[in-house]
């Protein structure tokens, strides 16, 4: 790290950071000018459509594309044959992008067509003859783990066991975290509660379907425009899959209409590129909503056992969890994160979390905002709530008593640095919401949540324009308003007004590598890099000033956007503003820029406490959200409006997950609700205002104290709502979603 934060830097008086400046991309978005994934066209463009398996599990015996190729207007038809050998680490992605020997889930891509019109492409698709041999399938996680389950991958042998099994199974890997003697800890408890929970798969539900426009030349070089959370990842994976050089593929990230983790991988991009290569035309591929739900990356469905022991005084003596997550037809579910995060809010001497990564005939899962954590928190926080109710203890007090704090050993291993869990709990306790009177059939629930947050590889380039304005190029697509926050951090550091900085997302040919926008890393890492780049630029501008004044550079100081002699000894020189120095750049050595290329470390974890009041209709099982307050530690809220927005958005996704959202599979293994009518995300009339309380416990790992905030907000809602329903109706909902038929059944009314 090339900065020294210290406690003083964190107490700094910010001029811009922390204020609600207008967002730079706002005007384009409110006028319809902003260009998202599907908004781009190119001359000679063809329309691409993808043929998808109607079977949950089937051997592909043959594919006959000859009739499709004969349709007038069709320029290319591709299958898995058009994807050649690739590195091992992208084999699963290649398989998911286009099925080879087997279709592994309903919606798995098996072929694709590029034609001059959508009608011609549609017609061609109908003429592709696929000979399937339907195989037995399994979609449920517990069923998939049984020895009698149909084996999806005969080369999959469970990793992470003491002895590698001889027979293949659908269990990809076993993980274990924890420390201490759990059995002994449970014996010390006055009350032990053990419960099993099940959650269904959900989808990130971004309103913008995946879309891209690919244009490959016969020289193996090309461009792709796509909505993605990581255009460098797209370049890396697509160049590997297509066998081209990374430098040959330029990826431009469009504005993105929501991602939440679901756009941190590729689905249609390699297909569009392969079609474009074969057709020698630009090819546009846009997923329909039904394709998005069937064939992009939903979360895991899970089955979780939790056992927690508590003393009468509220001390938690031990926590034990077994988590079973199915991640679709390929290994790689988020169960290790779930297992690590499950007990992270508690300072426990004895804790154990075992996770099983299971495969099933479902689409390959992708990240969804704190992947793996919401389900784990649902299970753990529900049991803690039940213990509190049985022992007649206040749920906030119990959490305060057992809360992880600065320096405590996390359930997943390391010792926490400075953290804000307690601060969120105390804020919750002091808030008027906690004292609001409740009526009949109404109840209150609280729950805590945690997310790791990440740093990651980040490159930023900061250019000082001759007129004193700043061009800031970052490589992390903006999914939440980060352009504004990063620009503001650079402006703060440079000491210039915020509207002098224009922050753009550069394409892959114009900037160094950047990891995907995920892990709530962008405000932290791109912000950190922007600050470092600004400091780099400041260093160079001080050199220029030193040169202009003829004094050593050590005698120059930078303050409020201006270079000054650091003491009277340095001589009498009028200060030079950034604009002054910029105007003279050509004459003093050339263009001035600052850079930063790092693997950012020091991301601060983020904790939250959520409080929700619900009313349960005892005659219909309908759950109404009355009141919702989020208390979350942001470290330092660079732009409070966007931080609030993250809190509110995550909470509402959690509300949908808890109450109505679920993937419904038929007996034949096909998805029954692949649309927004029957995949029910919350609508405006379902919700009250979501109050957002920003707690700030600065992260010592960032110059301004920033912590990622985007993900933690989805972790507590499932449990908070379940706990609230338990208070309102006296029933413990152990299955999500808590749809009305389930609630009514739990109430014993049906």
């Amino acid at each position: 790290m090339n900065f020294q934060p210290g406690k003083d830097a964190l107490k700094r008086n910010f001029k811009i950071v922390g204020t609600r400046t207008p967002r730079p991309d706002g005007l384009d978005k409110i006028t319809g000018r902003a260009r998202f994934g599907a908004d781009m066209t190119a001359p000679g463009m063809l329309w691409g459509l993808i043929l998808r398996s109607p079977h949950a599990h089937a051997r592909i015996k043959s594919i006959d594309t000859s009739s499709a190729e004969a349709v007038n207007g069709v320029h290319a038809v591709i299958t898995a044959k058009d994807f050649g050998p690739c590195p091992e680490d992208v084999l699963d992605i290649r398989e998911n992008v286009m099925a080879r020997e087997k279709a592994l889930y309903d919606g798995h891509a098996v072929a694709a067509v590029a034609a001059t019109s959508r009608a011609a492409a549609k017609q061609a698709l109908k003429l592709i003859k696929v000979d399937y041999e339907v195989l037995p399938h399994v979609t449920d996680v517990d069923e998939a783990m049984k020895p009698s389950a149909p084996i999806i991958n005969s080369k999959l042998f469970t990793k992470g066991l003491d002895k590698t099994p001889k027979k293949p199974s659908n269990i990809a890997e076993r993980f274990e975290f924890g420390h201490g003697d759990v059995e002994a800890g449970l014996k010390q408890a006055d009350l032990v509660i053990e419960r099993t929970f099940r959650t269904e798969a959900t989808h990130q539900g971004y309103i913008e379907p995946h879309a891209c426009l690919a244009s490959m030349g016969s020289d193996g070089r090309g461009d792709i425009w796509c909505c993605t959370q990581g255009h460098f990842m797209v370049r890396q994976v697509c160049s590997a899959l297509l066998g081209i050089d990374a430098s040959g593929l330029r990826v431009t990230a469009s504005e993105i209409g929501g991602g939440f983790g679901g756009k941190t991988t590729v689905f249609i991009e390699p297909v569009a590129l392969a079609l474009s290569l074969k057709a020698n035309h630009p090819v546009k591929v846009v997923m329909s909503r039904s394709e998005v739900l069937r064939a992009s990356g939903p979360t895991s469905s899970t089955s979780i056992d939790v056992k927690i022991g508590m003393k009468k005084d509220g001390t938690i003596t031990a926590g034990d969890a077994t988590l079973r997550y199915q991640g679709g037809a390929f290994p790689g579910s988020a169960v290790p994160y779930g297992a690590m995060a499950a007990f992270a809010c508690y300072d426990l001497k004895a804790v154990r979390a075992v996770g099983y990564d299971v495969i099933a005939n479902r689409p390959k899962q992708a990240a969804y905002r704190a992947p793996g954590a919401p389900m784990a928190a649902y299970a753990v926080e529900s049991v803690v709530d039940e213990l509190c109710k049985e022992l007649r203890l206040d749920p906030l007090d119990v959490r305060l008593k057992n809360a992880s704090s600065d320096g405590s050993k996390a359930s997943y291993g390391p010792n926490f640095d400075v953290i804000g869990l307690r601060a969120t709990l105390e804020a919750a306790k002091a808030h008027p919401h906690y004292k609001t009177k409740l009526g009949a059939n109404q109840g209150r629930g609280v729950a805590c949540g945690f997310w790791f947050n990440f740093g990651g590889e980040t490159s930023v380039s900061l250019n000082v324009n001759a007129d004193g304005t700043i061009g800031l190029s970052v490589g992390t697509p903006d999914i939440g308003g980060s352009r504004a926050s990063i620009g503001n951090m650079a402006a703060e550091e440079l000491g210039v007004p915020h509207d002098k900085v224009r922050c753009i997302i550069a394409d892959t040919a114009s900037l160094g590598y950047n990891d995907v926008t995920d892990g709530s890393r962008v405000t932290f890492a791109s912000g950190l890099a922007a600050i470092n780049a600004a400091r780099d630029a400041i260093g160079k501008m001080c050199e220029r000033a030193a040169g202009i004044w003829g004094i050593p550079v050590e005698a120059v100081t930078w303050e409020d956007g201006t270079a000054r002699p650091s003491s009277p000894n340095a001589g009498k020189h009028d200060p030079l503003t950034l604009a002054d120095i910029a105007a003279q750049a050509g004459a003093t050595g050339g263009p001035i820029a600052g850079h930063c290329e790092i693997n950012a470390e020091g991301a601060g974890v983020s904790f939250a406490t959520h409080m929700v009041d619900t009313e349960v209709d005892p005659d219909t099982g309908y759950v109404k959200i009355l009141r919702y307050t989020v208390f979350q530690d942001a470290g330092k809220a660079v732009h409070p409006s966007y931080v609030e927005g993250q809190f509110q958005g995550g909470a509402v996704q959690g509300i949908g997950w808890a109450l109505n959202e679920e993937y419904i599979y038929g007996k034949d293994g096909t998805l029954q609700n692949a649309g927004f009518l029957d995949y029910r995300i919350p609508v405006a009339s379902d919700l009250p205002m979501i109050d957002a309380v920003i707690v700030e416990v600065p992260n010592p790992g960032h110059p301004y104290g920033v912590r990622g905030v985007g993900e933690t907000s989805i972790v507590p809602p499932l449990a908070a709502i379940s706990n609230s329903v338990s208070s309102a109706a006296g029933v413990r909902m152990t299955q999500l979603p808590m749809s009305p038929p389930k609630v009514l059944k739990a109430l014993g009314r049906i």
Binding site: D678, V683, D686, L744
Partner: protein
């Protein structure tokens, strides 16, 4: 695919009779375009009835109303006289989809789509609505509850279309109401729908009633026993209990992704009670 927008009903009927292949009537399009988009309908001919001006009007039919087949749910809500006379029907139509959908959707189309979960249908049935069906040989009137044969199928012949929905003259001290249960507050489809229309005498005793259930059978149900539970009573708690029981007994739902059998049976009774209370209060002049 051919698209026609005839200017008269006569032309529409001629087109219907003469067109080859599958023909669909287009009113609001909020079902047809969805079915086309999802591959469930590929009509050879579409006949848009929105240029036929009588189909776009709400007219008085004696003391009742004639709602043209191309009248949108939104237009129904904006017609003060209609909303005052038949609030249950108007509210039911206003539950279809969303504001955007209500800007186009029609109750005639809702009926002809023949979904068991159609929102406007139980309300129309409870109100005693009739469909005016026009064909090459002239027109006939059919009670709305007789129009749907099975899910997705109506009694309309190939060359027939619905011209209008007739709502009868509303007797004095009559109130109607429609309630539905759906998991979300809006933008949703009925898991159970109940329409109740009842008439009280000057002493507050129910003299006539119609109770209709949606989404709990392949087609809409008109439950005589449920009406019987109300007639002769003051729609008090005992009557409401009997009403709820009769509705639960009449419901013959399936388990599907939107609700379980037991849930629908139970909630049919719950909603019937609640809808009857609203209808009663409207009949008594309470808002």
């Amino acid at each position: 695919m051919q698209y026609h927008a005839p200017a008269t009903l006569k032309d529409a009927v001629k087109l219907l009779a003469s067109s080859k292949g599958t023909t669909q009537i287009l009113a609001g399009g909020t079902d047809l375009l969805v079915r086309m988009r999802t591959g469930f309908a590929e009509p050879d001919t579409i006949i848009d009835i929105k240029r036929i001006s009588p189909m776009c009007k709400i007219a008085r039919d004696g003391k009742g109303f004639s709602i043209g087949a191309a009248v949108s749910s939104a237009e129904m809500s904006e017609n003060a006289a209609l909303a005052k006379a038949w609030p249950g029907v108007v509210e039911a139509a206003a539950l279809i989809g969303s504001t955007q959908v209500q800007g186009r959707a029609t109750i005639a189309g809702n009926l002809c789509n023949a979904s068991p979960a159609a929102d406007s249908v139980p309300a129309m049935v409870a109100a005693g609505a009739k469909a005016v069906i026009r064909g090459p040989k002239g027109k006939r009137k059919v009670a709305v509850e007789k129009v749907c044969k099975s899910p997705g199928k109506t009694i309309l012949k190939k060359s027939e279309l619905i011209e209008a929905i007739l709502l009868p003259a509303k007797p004095a001290r009559t109130g109607d109401a429609y309630l539905r249960f759906s998991p979300r507050t809006e933008m949703d489809i009925a898991v159970v729908g109940v329409g109740v229309c009842l008439t009280l005498d000057t002493k507050g005793v129910c003299t006539a009633a119609r109770v209709s259930l949606g989404a709990v059978a392949p087609t809409v149900l008109l439950v005589a026993k449920a009406a019987g539970a109300l007639i002769g009573t003051k729609v008090d708690d005992a009557a409401l209990d009997a009403l709820a029981a009769a509705c639960s007994a009449a419901a013959k739902p399936i388990d599907d992704k939107r609700g379980t059998r037991e849930f629908r049976i139970h909630v049919a009774g719950v909603l019937a009670r609640r809808a009857a209370i609203i209808a009663r209060d409207r009949a008594l002049g309470k808002s």
